[in-house]
C-alpha cells in the first residue's frame, strides 16, 4: 500500500505557504504602502487622525460589541445611496488611523461610517445612548445607561447633565451625567466621518 500521508502533508503545506504569501504578505505590503492624501479644498491631510479620547472611545465601542449590529463600510450600492450612508464607497485608506476596523456583518442598526457628519451633536448621541427609543421609536438598540451616572443635584444643574424628555423618568432632584466612558464613546462616534474625497473614491455630487 502506497503511503500518501507525507506527500499529502507536503502538498498541503506548500499551498498553505503560497496562500499565505498571496493573502497575508502581499496585502500587508499593499496596505502598508498607503499614504495620507492632501485635500484640495482645505489643504488638510485626510483621513484625519483620531483624538486620544476618540481612540479610547473606539475601545468602548469594541468592548460593548457595537459592531454586532452596526457596520462601518459604505458601498456604491443602491441601498447605501438611498439610506444616505455616504457620498462615496469606503476604501482601505479611510481606515488609516483606525486602531481596529469594525467592518461588521449585520445592519440591525444603520451603518456608522459617516455618523459623525450625519449627527453632529454630542447631546444627540448621549440621549440616544441613554434612551434610544426617545429618538428612534421602535428601535431595538439597547440602552447604555450603565455608561451614565445618576447624581443628586446639589445647588445648580451640572453643565454636563443630559437634557432628557419628560418620558424618561428620572427621580426628582437627580440628574444624569455622562461618565468618562460615555464621553469617549461619543467622541469616537463624532470622529466617524468620511465626507472627504480620495482619488480612488471621489465624492459623488448629487
Amino acid at each position: 500500500m502506497k503511503n500518501n500521508s507525507i506527500p499529502s502533508f507536503v502538498t498541503i503545506i506548500f499551498f498553505f505557504l503560497l496562500g499565505w504569501l498571496l493573502l497575508i504578505w502581499t496585502p500587508y505590503l499593499q496596505f502598508g504602502s498607503q499614504k495620507l492624501h492632501e485635500d484640495q479644498e482645505s489643504g488638510d491631510l485626510v483621513p484625519r487622525p483620531l483624538s486620544g479620547l476618540a481612540i479610547r472611545g473606539s475601545k468602548i465601542y469594541e468592548e460593548n460589541g457595537c459592531a454586532t449590529c452596526h457596520t462601518q463600510q459604505a458601498r456604491n450600492s443602491n441601498e447605501d445611496k438611498v439610506q444616505g450612508y455616504s457620498k462615496r464607497a469606503s476604501v482601505a485608506r479611510d481606515f488609516f488611523y483606525q486602531p481596529a476596523t469594525f467592518a461588521g456583518m449585520n445592519r440591525f442598526g444603520p451603518d456608522l461610517t459617516n455618523v459623525g457628519s450625519r449627527k453632529k451633536s454630542a447631546e444627540w448621541h448621549h440621549q440616544h445612548l441613554f434612551a434610544p427609543q426617545t429618538l428612534s421609536p421602535g428601535s431595538i438598540m439597547p440602552s447604555y445607561q450603565f455608561l451614565y451616572e445618576k447624581r443628586k443635584i446639589v445647588g445648580q444643574h451640572s453643565g454636563e447633565a443630559l437634557k432628557l424628555p419628560s418620558s424618561v423618568l428620572i427621580e426628582e432632584g437627580y440628574e444624569v451625567i455622562p461618565s468618562e466612558q460615555a464621553k469617549a464613546l461619543v467622541a469616537y462616534l463624532l470622529s466617524l466621518d468620511q465626507s472627504y474625497s480620495l482619488p480612488e473614491s471621489p465624492l459623488i455630487e448629487e
Binding site: 500500500m1 502506497k2 503511503n3 500518501n4 500521508s5 499529502s8 502533508f9 498541503i12 503545506i13 499551498f15 498553505f16 503560497l18 496562500g19 499565505w20 493573502l23 497575508i24 496585502p27 500587508y28 499593499q30 496596505f31 469594541e62 468592548e63 460593548n64 460589541g65 459592531a67 454586532t68 457596520t71 463600510q73 458601498r75 438611498v82 439610506q83 464607497a89 476604501v91 482601505a92 485608506r93 479611510d94 481606515f95 488611523y97 483606525q98 481596529a100 476596523t101 469594525f102 467592518a103 461588521g104 456583518m105 449585520n106 445592519r107 440591525f108 442598526g109 444603520p110 434610544p132 421602535g138 428601535s139 431595538i140 439597547p142 440602552s143 447604555y144 445607561q145 450603565f146 455608561l147
Partner: protein, 473 residues
C-alpha cells in the same frame, strides 16, 4: 445487514481492546465536555435572544449588554462544536488503528487548556476585554486555545504520518490538524506584533475566520459525513477517486482564497483580492457539491434500509444543509448578487445553516450511530432520539426560513427611498422572535441528548421488548 465486521472494504473497523479504551477515554473527556458546553451555550443563546427583543431588560448591568452576551453565546457554542469535532477527528484516527492517548498528561493539559480558554474567553467578553474587531476569540482566550492545540500537534502529526494510506475521510481530518497550527500561529503573531490595525487588520481577521471555519471546523464535519456514509455503505471506497479529486479542489481553493461559506466580502479591499475570493468561493462550492453527489449516488440504493437507521434523519438534514450552503455560496460568490443581501439577516441564515444545520446535525448523527458500537452499550430510548431530531430540525428549519424572509424584506425595503430604515427593523422584528422560539427548542434538544448520553455512560439498558432502536450491524 448494512455492514459486516468481516467486510474487508471497511477500513475503520474498531479493533477491540486498546481502541475501545481509547474511545471510552475520548468520550468521557471531549464528548462529555462538548455536551456540557452545548448546554451552557443554549442558556447563553436564550439570554441573547431575550436581550434582542427586550433591550431594556437588565440594562443596568454592563456585563449583560446585547453585544457582550451575543459574543459570549457564540464562543460557548464554539466550545461545544470544537470539542465535539475534535472528538470525532480523534476517534477516526483511533479507529484507523492508531493510538492517540500515548501520553495521558499531554491530553490532560491540552483538554484543560482548551476548556480554560473558553471560560477565560467568556469572562473576557462579559468584562469588556473584547480584543480585535470581529475576532470571536478575545486575546487571552486565543492564546490559551492555541496553546491547548499546540500541545497536541506533535502527537497528532506523528499519528497521522503513521497511517499508511489516508482514506478521504482521514484526509479531511489531516487537513484540519495540519493547517490549524499555522493559521493560529499567524494570527497570534500579527496580533502580538500590532499589525491588526486599519483595513489590513479587518482583512487579516477575515482570513483567519476563513481558515478557522473552512480549514478547521468544516473539514472535520465533512470527514464525519464520509465516515458515516462509509459505515452506512462500505461500497463508498469504489468512489474514492472522485472524493480525492473533490478533496484537492476543496483544499487548494480554500488555501488560496479567503472567504468561508458564511463570510461576506469586505467592499473596501482591493479588486484583485475580491476576484480571488470569488473564484475560491466557486471552487469551494463545487467541491462540496461533488462530495455530496458522490454520496447520494452511493446511498440511493440503500435508502429503504437506511430509513430504519436512527441516525439517518440527522445525516440527511446535515448533508441537505451543506448542499444548500454550497448552492447559495456559489450564487453569493458574485459581487453583484452579494451586494443585494450583504449585511442583511442572510448572514445569520447562512451561519445557522452551517453551525446548526450542518455541523451540529452531523455531530448528533455520529453520536447516535457510533457511540453504541464504540462503547458497546445501548441508547436508552429511540423515541427520545426521534424527538431530539424533530426539535433540532424544526428549530433550525424555522430559523433559516424566518431569516431568509427577513433578509428579503431588508433587501427590498432598505433599497426603497420612501421607506425609513427604522420601519424595516420594526417589520422584521416578529421574524426575529421566531429565532428566539427556536432557541427554546434547541435548548430542549441539548437537554435530551445530554440526558441520553448520561444514561449511556451509566449503562442503563432498556427493556429490549420496548426498545425501537435499530442496529444496522
Amino acid at each position: 445487514m448494512i455492514l459486516s465486521k468481516t467486510d474487508p472494504s471497511y477500513e475503520f473497523l474498531p479493533r477491540e481492546g486498546n481502541i475501545k479504551t481509547e474511545n471510552e477515554f475520548l468520550t468521557l473527556s471531549f464528548g462529555s465536555l462538548s455536551l456540557l458546553w452545548l448546554l451552557l451555550s443554549g442558556l447563553f443563546l436564550l439570554v441573547e435572544s431575550i436581550k434582542l427583543h427586550a433591550p431594556e431588560v437588565f440594562n443596568q448591568l454592563s456585563w449583560l449588554s446585547y453585544g457582550k452576551i451575543h459574543h459570549a453565546a457564540q464562543l460557548s457554542f464554539l466550545g461545544a462544536l470544537t470539542q465535539g469535532l475534535l472528538w470525532m477527528g480523534f476517534s477516526f484516527i483511533a479507529s484507523a488503528g492508531q493510538l492517540l492517548k500515548r501520553s495521558n498528561s499531554l491530553f490532560f493539559i491540552s483538554l484543560s487548556l482548551l476548556n480554560i480558554s473558553f471560560i477565560v474567553g467568556i469572562i473576557e467578553l462579559l468584562s469588556g476585554n473584547r480584543g480585535h474587531g470581529t475576532l470571536i476569540f478575545p486575546p487571552y482566550s486565543l492564546i490559551l486555545f492555541s496553546l491547548g492545540f499546540f500541545f497536541l500537534v506533535p502527537l497528532l502529526w506523528n499519528t497521522l504520518f503513521k497511517i499508511q494510506k489516508l482514506s478521504p475521510s482521514l484526509m479531511f481530518v489531516a487537513l484540519s490538524f495540519w493547517t490549524a497550527p499555522f493559521s493560529l500561529a499567524t494570527i497570534i503573531s500579527l496580533s502580538c506584533g500590532g499589525y491588526l490595525q486599519g483595513a489590513y487588520g479587518a482583512w487579516a481577521l477575515a482570513w483567519f475566520s476563513h481558515h478557522f471555519i473552512s480549514l478547521f471546523l468544516l473539514p472535520l464535519g465533512i470527514a464525519t459525513v464520509l465516515n458515516l456514509a462509509q459505515k452506512y455503505s462500505p461500497k463508498l471506497n469504489q468512489n474514492e477517486a472522485s472524493l480525492r479529486f473533490a478533496f484537492w479542489i476543496y483544499t487548494i481553493s480554500n488555501l488560496m482564497s479567503s472567504r468561508d461559506l458564511i463570510g461576506t466580502p469586505l467592499p473596501f479591499i482591493p479588486a484583485w483580492l475580491r476576484s480571488i475570493e470569488t473564484v475560491g468561493s466557486l471552487f469551494l462550492s463545487f467541491s462540496v457539491l461533488i462530495i455530496l453527489h458522490t454520496l447520494f449516488l452511493q446511498l440511493k440504493p440503500l435508502l429503504s434500509d437506511l430509513k430504519k437507521e436512527i441516525s439517518f434523519p440527522f445525516f440527511v438534514f446535515a448533508t441537505t444543509s451543506l448542499a444548500l450552503l454550497g448552492v447559495l455560496k456559489s450564487l453569493l460568490a458574485f459581487q453583484e448578487v452579494n451586494q443585494w443581501v450583504q449585511f442583511s439577516t442572510m448572514t445569520n441564515a447562512l451561519q445557522t445553516l452551517l453551525y446548526f444545520g450542518f455541523l451540529m446535525m452531523i455531530f448528533f448523527a455520529w453520536i447516535y450511530h457510533q457511540l453504541p458500537y464504540l462503547l458497546e452499550r445501548v441508547w436508552a430510548s429511540s423515541s427520545l432520539i426521534q424527538t431530539h431530531f424533530w426539535l433540532s430540525a424544526l428549530s433550525t428549519g424555522i430559523t433559516i426560513l424566518a431569516l431568509f424572509v427577513a433578509s428579503g424584506l431588508q433587501t427590498y425595503r432598505n433599497a426603497t427611498s420612501e421607506i425609513p430604515f427604522l420601519s424595516t427593523v420594526i417589520v422584521i422584528r416578529p421574524l426575529l422572535w421566531i429565532q428566539s422560539l427556536s432557541r427554546v427548542f434547541q435548548f430542549s434538544g441539548a437537554l435530551m441528548i445530554s440526558f441520553l448520553f448520561l444514561l449511556l455512560l451509566l449503562n442503563w439498558k432498556p427493556n429490549p421488548k420496548n426498545s425501537l432502536f435499530y442496529n444496522p450491524r
